[in-house]
Amino acid sequence: MSTTIYQKPDAQGYYGQFGGAYIPEMLHRNVEELRNQYKQIIGSKDFRDEYQSLLRDYVGRPTPLYHAVRLSAQFNTNIYLKREDLCHTGSHKLNNALGQILLALRLGKKRIIAETGAGQHGVATATVCALKGIECIVYMGEKDIQRQAPNVARMKMLGATVIPATSGSKTLKDATNEAIRDWINNPNDTHYIIGSVVGPHPYPDMVASFQSVISEEIRKQLKEKTGSELPTHVFACVGGGSNAAGTFYHFTEEGSVKLVAVEAAGHGVDSGMSAATTRLGKPGVLHGSKSLVMQTEDGQVVEPHSISAGLDYPGIGPMHANLFTSGRGTFLSATDEEAVRAAFNLTQQEGIIPALESSHALAGLHQVSFKKDDVVVLCLSGRGDKDMATYMQAMGL
């Protein structure tokens, strides 16, 4: 068995120099409880049986690995789309929300809290809370509530309470702060479902484990389609990095597979309106772990910008910070405009309207030169229904 220097953190939650659990004492007991129990619970037969059966019958897994023929012709190579957009609720976020709810129930928790940016993680969490009949509170930046109205309505219809985060910059980072504060104030009955591979150890590892089903399926499906489990490239967009972590997970130790992450450049990396964390960030501590963080010279966290609310986050998960600094991963970035163009291209070539987040990964294809027999797998992390307002604007409708 190969060693897993990129895939898994060490016992203290470190991927290289990144990770750890930089939390106030008020969170210690909850985080410690998770740390002591999550591996055992998610490894148990009872958990795995329920998780597997719901992944199949409720989420709709395995999601197809689709050979995008016309897109491949455009790039003169072989491109396969991992169709996470076909998951129930429209994105990969449900894989994690489902896993964490089943875990929370086994920890005896009665109340679920979550943060959300685009609303996809909030909708996924509200969905499984409805499924399990458990109370759900979602923190969402006041600004995001305005720009993601359909998802706010979905969460409310699902019975969740949506609480606006009005502090700081009123977006995802502040919603995360508010959720953490809620957890501090409700230490006994509440589980906090973080939506990406960020936060204190063990969250990055736990969320990556739940998303790893993506690359587990890719290996099997690729073997059936091409005779080999290994592609030459895997592509994914990175906000916090959960769909990328899931897409990379079973390839991190396969040196022949290029791991390509695409960040949101916003108006351009140097425009002052960007979310390209590996380009603009420095090592620091945000939301309980050490990673790369976009910040001022004085160490104040800055407000990022991306057209896609799901990538509008000033950090990345510690696993990705390590992939970046070690050189194991290739980090690209795509601007708002490039992402929108890539979304229209996929729609017109393949009849698939992608989420704005996933469109960044698609835009990244233009920045790599492929050989004719390369096999490129791209994680289409979500569908574009939630982004129709932006696309309508682009069409002048």
């Binding site: 939390i23 106030p24 004492e25 008020m26 502040d174 104030n185 620091g284 501590v285 104040q300």
Partner: protein, 255 residues
């Protein structure tokens, strides 16, 4: 012996530690408030270094941090203001803050500069025990700064003992698992403090979070060496035109 340890040697009951966010309400209020705290009978000063994402703080202290940041407060500015503080302030001074701005400043440089200015101790709520022991603790010790850990009612007795052993100066007992500024039920707090008292800890214990007036200060002090007031003092400074007068009036109302 550090200034904090000397204080507790002289006085081990009703010790009053007052928290204020540096750069609040005005950029240059900090030293004026410190002098007024000293004149009106506070025993210890805890200066908060404002941060954009203060996880352990409630809305009132967070809002004061936002104002301080808008006023232009930074660690560098704060150190300029504190350069001559020891010519007028004799009370022990503790800096409270979050890791990220300190890491950007440079952790060792931060400790060196703080010590050079006469700062006595640090409270860094998001610096965990593991990283303290392995990386940062030795640097803090090198500059002879006290380091104060937090404990809560959820902290197990073994862990309280371990954090007490790692702390110097005092131990900060959060009166409940809560962010700053929440009202507390003092009955439950007393039972918790009595449990701590029975453990015969190495350090004195100060109670924080939810102390807002004379009654809650006295109640908290009954089973501990004293208490920390933050949110209520930040509220008292809100809109004050004369911060000295507002400070003295507030402290006298508590003592």
């Amino acid at each position: 012996m550090s200034r904090i340890q000397e204080l507790f040697k002289k006085k081990n009951k009703q010790v009053l530690n007052v928290y204020v966010t540096a750069g609040y309400p005005q950029l240059n209020s900090t030293v004026t408030i410190m002098q007024a705290l000293q004149n009106s009978g506070a025993d210890l000063i805890e200066l908060g270094m404002p941060y954009s994402d203060p996880l352990a703080d409630g809305p009132v202290i967070q809002a004061s941090s936002t104002i301080a940041l808008q006023n232009g407060m930074t660690i560098r500015k704060l150190f300029e203001q504190l350069k001559d503080m020891r010519s007028s302030v004799q009370l022990p001074v503790i800096l409270m803050g979050y890791m990220n701005p300190i890491l950007q400043y440079g952790f060792e440089k931060f400790c060196a500069d703080a010590a050079a200015m006469g700062v006595d101790g640090l409270i860094l709520p998001d610096l965990p025990e593991f990283e303290f022991e392995n990386e940062y603790g030795p640097i803090i010790k090198k500059y002879k700064l006290d380091f104060i850990f937090l404990v809560t009612p959820e902290t197990t007795p073994e862990r309280v003992k371990r954090l007490d052993a790692l702390s110097t100066g005092f131990l900060y007992a959060v009166s409940s698992s809560s962010t700053t500024g929440k009202d507390q039920n003092m009955g439950g707090v007393s039972a918790y403090l009595q449990r701590l008292q029975a453990m015969e800890l190495k350090n004195p214990v100060l109670v924080g979070f939810g102390i807002k007036d004379k009654a809650s200060f006295d109640a908290a002090s009954e089973f501990a060496n004293g208490a920390i007031i933050g949110t209520a003092f930040i509220r008292a400074l809100d809109g004050a035109t004369d911060v000295s007068a507002a400070t003295e009036q507030f402290i006298r109302s508590v003592k």
